[in-house]
C-alpha cells in the first residue's frame, strides 16, 4: 500500500509537531480545518491544545458532525491530551457546552494530573510499542477514569490509565509529538494501513 494520507485537525494546538511526526512515520500528512478536507484522508490526528477551544471551534465551523460521522464509520483516529478528551464518549467534568467527537468508550478527567507546575516527564511502557519505554510528556494532562468493556488499556502511569485503544481509535494523555521518538505515530500509521488493506479486500 502506498503511504496513507493522514490529516491533523488544525483548529488549534500543536499541529506542526504532529505533521512532522507523521511524515517521519512514513505518512503523507496534511492539516484539516474544513469538513471538505476530511474526504481525502485515510486517518486523522486530534492534536494537543485546549479541549474547550477545539470543541467550540469544531461546532462553530461545522466540523463536529462530519467528524462524528467519519469516526463512527471507522476512520482511524489518534488523539493526544486534548485530543484524548475529544475522543472520549464522556467527560467527567465538562465546561458548559463542551462537546466531544467520541469514539472511545471511556470517561476522562480533565487536567487530572494537575496544573502546569505539576506537568512532568516520565517513562511510559505502551502495549504494542516495541523496545524501551517512550518518553511521556504530560502537560496539564488528563487521565482516563474508567473504560468500557470494548476499550483496551495500553498504558498506565502510577495507577492511572494514560493510553487506550478501541477499534480504530487510539488515544494518549501524553504528547509523543513533542519528542523525537515516532514509535506511537508509527503504531497509528500501521493502524491506518491495516484499515486500508481491510477495505480493499
Amino acid at each position: 500500500m502506498p503511504s496513507p494520507v493522514i490529516g491533523v485537525l488544525a483548529l488549534q494546538g500543536d499541529v506542526r509537531e504532529h505533521l512532522v511526526a507523521l511524515a517521519a512515520a512514513d505518512a503523507v500528512a496534511r492539516p484539516v480545518r474544513r469538513p471538505g478536507a476530511l474526504d481525502g484522508v485515510d486517518g486523522l490526528v486530534i492534536p494537543g491544545g485546549e479541549s474547550t477551544t477545539i470543541s467550540k471551534l469544531a461546532v462553530l465551523f461545522g466540523m463536529m458532525e462530519p467528524l462524528r460521522a467519519r469516526v463512527r464509520a471507522g476512520l482511524p483516529v489518534y488523539g493526544t491530551c486534548a485530543g484524548l478528551i475529544m475522543l472520549a464518549d464522556k467527560i467527567l467534568d465538562p465546561r458548559s457546552g463542551q462537546e466531544t467527537i467520541g469514539g472511545i468508550d471511556m470517561i476522562v478527567r480533565r487536567n487530572a494530573f494537575g496544573r502546569q507546575n505539576e506537568s512532568f516527564e516520565a517513562a511510559v511502557d505502551i502495549e504494542g510499542v516495541e523496545g524501551d519505554p517512550v518518553e511521556g510528556v504530560f502537560i496539564r494532562a488528563p487521565w482516563v477514569e474508567s473504560v468500557g468493556a470494548g476499550t483496551e488499556v495500553l498504558a498506565e502511569h502510577e495507577g492511572h490509565i494514560v493510553a487506550v485503544r478501541q477499534g480504530n481509535a487510539l488515544a494518549t494523555s501524553f504528547h509523543p509529538e513533542l519528542t523525537g521518538d515516532h514509535r506511537v505515530h508509527r503504531l497509528f500509521t500501521d493502524m491506518v494501513r491495516a484499515r486500508g488493506a481491510a477495505d480493499s479486500l
Partner: protein, 303 residues
C-alpha cells in the same frame, strides 16, 4: 534536554520540554487579558486558550500612571478558580520575588512584562530557577534570544499595550522574521559574527539558523483590537495572539472576543474574517503611537 529517561525514574517536573511544550499547546489560540472572574468566564466561553489575570488592563495602567505591580493574590486565585483554561499573570521585569509568589499561587505561565514598571534596570529574572514557565516580550531577534538564554519558554512581540494600535507589534514581528531570514543565509563562519551582533549566545543563534524559526513559540502582543488585526499578526508569522485592552475596553466584549478567536483560527480566509468583523459595536478608541512620549513607550523597557 531530550535525554532518554531510565526505567522507574521519578517523574520530572519543570523540564524545558514541559515548559516549551505547554506553549506549543496554545498555538493558534488567543490569550485574553481579564481583571475579574466574570471576564475570565466570558473569555473562556468565547474560546480563549488562556487568560492573563491582572488588576488593570494596560489602557488603564496608562491612564492611571504611577507604579504598576503584580496583581493581588486573591484576585489571581479568584480567576484560577473561575476557569479551567490556563491562567497567566505578570511580574515586573527583574522582580523575581513577584515571580516566586506567582509560582506559589499556581499560575500556569508568568509574563515578565514591560507593561508593569520594571524593578531592575539591568537584569531580567533567572527563569531557569522556576518550575513555572515564562513568556517574555521582544522587539527583535537578539532580545528574543537573550530572554530564551535566561530561560523564557515562549516569546511575544512587545507592541505598545493599551494603545489599540497594532503598528509596533507589526514592526517587531517583521524585524524578528527578517533577522531569522538573514541568519538562514549565513554560512558557519558568519554565525559567530552574527551572534556577536545580536548580542546572543552562539548556540541559540546556530539553532535558529538551522530551524528557520525561534526554538520556542512566538506570539504577537500589543495593540490588537479587531479580528483583522489578529489575522494580520498571524499572517506575519505569529503562532497566536495576546489581546489586552482590545476586548474588555470595547462595546461588546463577548462578541468581540469570539470574533477575534474565529479570525485567529481562519487567519488566511478573508470571508471568515469579514463575517467575524460584522456588527461588533465600538472598538476601543486607541492612541497613535507616534504621539506617545518616549517615557510612555513600554517597548523601551527591557533590553
Amino acid at each position: 534536554m531530550s535525554s532518554t529517561l531510565p526505567d522507574n525514574q521519578a517523574p520530572e517536573t519543570g523540564t524545558a520540554r514541559v515548559k516549551r511544550g505547554m506553549a506549543e499547546q496554545l498555538k493558534g489560540g488567543v490569550i485574553m487579558d481579564v481583571v475579574t472572574p466574570e471576564q475570565a468566564k466570558i473569555a473562556e466561553d468565547a474560546g480563549a486558550v488562556a487568560v492573563m489575570a491582572l488588576e488593570r488592563v494596560p489602557a488603564d495602567i496608562r491612564k492611571d500612571g504611577g507604579v504598576a505591580r503584580m496583581s493581588d493574590p486573591d484576585m489571581i486565585e479568584g480567576i484560577i478558580e473561575a476557569v479551567s483554561i490556563p491562567v497567566m499573570a505578570k511580574s515586573r521585569i527583574g522582580h523575581f520575588v513577584e515571580a516566586q509568589v506567582l509560582q506559589a499561587l499556581g499560575v500556569d505561565y508568568i509574563d515578565e512584562s514591560e507593561v508593569l514598571t520594571p524593578a531592575d534596570e539591568v537584569n531580567h529574572s533567572d527563569k531557569w530557577a522556576f518550575t513555572t514557565p515564562f513568556v517574555c516580550g521582544a522587539t527583535n531577534l537578539g532580545e528574543a534570544l537573550r530572554r530564551i538564554a535566561e530561560g523564557a519558554a515562549m516569546i511575544r512581540s512587545k507592541g505598545e499595550a493599551g494603545t489599540g494600535n497594532v503598528v509596533e507589534a507589526v514592526r517587531h514581528l517583521r524585524q524578528i522574521k527578517n533577522e531569522i531570514a538573514r541568519l538562514r543565509g549565513c554560512d558557519n563562519h558568519e554565525l559567530y559574527a552574527a551572534a556577536k551582533e545580536l548580542r546572543a549566545p552562539y548556540e541559540l543563534v546556530a539553532e535558529v539558523a538551522e530551524l528557520g524559526r525561534l526554538p520556542v513559540v512566538l506570539f504577537s502582543a500589543g495593540g490588537v483590537a479587531t479580528p483583522a488585526d489578529a489575522a494580520l499578526m498571524r499572517q506575519l508569522g505569529a503562532e497566536g495572539v495576546f489581546v489586552g485592552s482590545g476586548i474588555f475596553k470595547s462595546g461588546d466584549p463577548a462578541k468581540r472576543a469570539a470574533a477575534i478567536v474565529k479570525a485567529t483560527t481562519f487567519y488566511d480566509d478573508p470571508k471568515v474574517i469579514a463575517d467575524a468583523s460584522r456588527d461588533l459595536g465600538e472598538a476601543m478608541v486607541g492612541i497613535n503611537c507616534d504621539t506617545l512620549p518616549e517615557a510612555e513607550r513600554y517597548a523601551n523597557r527591557g533590553w
